[in-house]
Symmetry: C2
Subunit: 342 residues, 2 copies
């Protein structure tokens, strides 16, 4: 009898707790909805509508090394799907061991950003794919004509281009290559428990994750890391309060968006990265100079917000960030077979 009564008391307390918690949770949910919102099903673009045929072809190109100058580079080299579409290197290494200027961000959810690349010098994922094939440190091909020649040599691609771009008379072009890759990338949305929460399922996040979300909001991380992508919607100076290189282990000082615009006000300005799957995409920052998420959060507090976050605050934020690790679309996890060279 004693035991049963104990259970009843605990149950009452528990239910009361849930009920108390719920009010707070409801407030948090409203905030989260305002600041973030859930991920869309796909990241659509009027310029490049998604079709099954384009996605199929784009996924094949994602693994295609034969259109790189040394035959070793495909999109997948710097964005391996199994490593959450980032390569784990400080800076990616492309054809003939050339080092890329910045860290390779994950391409999951990347199409939802205002632009691509850390300094926003790619308009969208299609532009990124197109420029990558002739990028000296990436695929390194000498010209678009050379890429088209190779695409035409692999006979199996002809009919697939035709299916994906039925209106085009001569569909085997780099522009269509880029559209196909872009269409594939536009499907790479990775919803997590956070999205279930934002959609109203209050128990989708654990108490610790909710505490972390609250800290993330209260600490003002969300000033920049907002939208369903938790970032990717604006540019911001890296090192608002202090120069970033005094805290990171950067080996060089990167002038950021200044390289593109030559405006003094763009010095050390970078696109705010999306934080979806951030747990899985170490190392951090534009130069991959910091290995651990804990350190990255601590440094961000210090130099972006001018706050010395204590251990428990940093840990709370890290706990929340881990709730952004999402489910990868099943189709993206299936390797396509590529046509033969013969």
């Amino acid at each position: 009898m004693f035991k049963i009564s104990t259970i009843i008391i605990i149950s009452i307390l528990f239910l009361a707790g849930v009920s108390f918690g719920s009010d707070e949770d409801e407030i948090l949910l409203k905030q989260a909805n305002k600041i973030f919102g859930p991920l869309p099903q796909a990241m659509v673009s009027e310029k490049n509508p998604i079709s099954r045929q384009k996605v199929k072809l784009g996924k094949m190109f994602f693994y295609e090394t034969r259109i790189s100058v040394d035959g070793t580079v495909s999109c997948s080299r710097c964005h391996p799907i199994g490593l959450y579409a980032a390569d784990g290197l400080r800076k990616s290494i492309g054809n003939n061991c050339k080092v890329n200027p910045r860290n390779a961000p994950t391409i999951f959810n990347a199409a939802g950003q205002i632009s691509e690349h850390w300094i926003g010098n790619r308009v969208d994922v299609e532009d990124q794919a197109k420029q990558a094939v002739i990028g000296p440190p990436s695929f390194g091909m000498p010209s678009y004509e050379a890429v088209e020649k190779r695409l035409k040599e692999i006979k199996g691609y002809g009919p697939l281009f035709k299916e994906a771009f039925p209106q085009d008379k001569d569909p085997v072009t780099v522009d269509n290559f880029a559209k196909a890759v872009g269409a594939f990338e536009r499907t790479l949305v990775t919803p997590s428990r956070f999205d279930a929460f934002v959609k109203g399922e209050l128990t989708a996040l654990s108490d610790n994750q909710k505490r972390g979300l609250k800290t993330f909001v209260e600490t003002d991380c969300m000033t920049c890391h907002s939208s369903a992508y938790v970032g990717g919607q604006m540019y911001q100076k890296f090192g608002v309060f202090e120069p970033y290189w005094q805290y990171t282990r950067s080996k060089e000082i990167d002038e950021g968006r200044y390289v593109v615009t030559k405006n003094e006000s763009d010095k050390y300005v970078f696109k705010v990265p999306i934080l979806r799957n951030v747990e899985m995409t170490s190392p951090y920052f534009h130069d991959g100079s910091v290995d651990h998420l804990y350190d990255a959060v601590r440094i961000m507090g210090k130099i972006q917000l001018g706050k010395d976050l204590d251990k428990s605050r940093v840990e709370e934020i890290v706990t929340f960030l881990k709730s952004l690790t999402g489910e990868i679309p099943e189709d993206a996890l299936k390797i396509p077979l590529l046509p033969s060279t013969n």
Copy 2:
């Protein structure tokens, strides 16, 4: 009425043809069974029994770049599954752009061979995986200890090693890494229409493919390319009738197995490669010096058999070889998600 009678006559002729053909087909089937036989379901080894847990872990390691010296090399780099587990390069390029001494053969069905590597200097797939991690032109790690250290740093692997090797007190070892990779590779069997034929389904091969098989046998290709793997069971001099480099586009003369044994009789001797999926794994030969299957077959006729095969014979053999392009196990086409570095 005329039309119907025509159809009847054609049908009778067709059925007669099938019936005449069948006798020949039965003979061909018997020959094929004697020379080749169908692929097994898996390539088992008493030394490394296959288990679900080992295969799961081995497949993860197949994509693991973080155990290479420059963080860019995984098994998948030289054996990308979508390209039929070969990389399409003349010679594979490993860490820090180092060129491997020979062409990367597909790892599909590779565990069924007498040994691994072109010159047979790896005992089996486990030995290959183990030696690869410290191979200077492949993963390039300085020592097995260094590999084990990295494996231990990725915390997520600990429990998976324990599951795969439950009897081991300290299961995170390079030997167990190699066993896991080996177990995965032992599942990579790719049966094709040829196996259906060998198992008795006479119509599984087209008439052209059957003609090609007959030519393959009559021309004596099967003297070396025998067993279910259509090769991989013996060593043979490359260039029995004439030096190979007079026909291939080889840039260097490779002394083959002589490098291992230092026996004069092993000069220019290589392991006979398996021909499963050969259509998909251009370029050909130990140095990838020939791009097209047609040329590879013609050269083989000339220098191995002393025969000038005419165009139609070469084409017949190529047609047969294409029937060896197989189905890749569904599980091997699914990318595993790897644990985070954090």
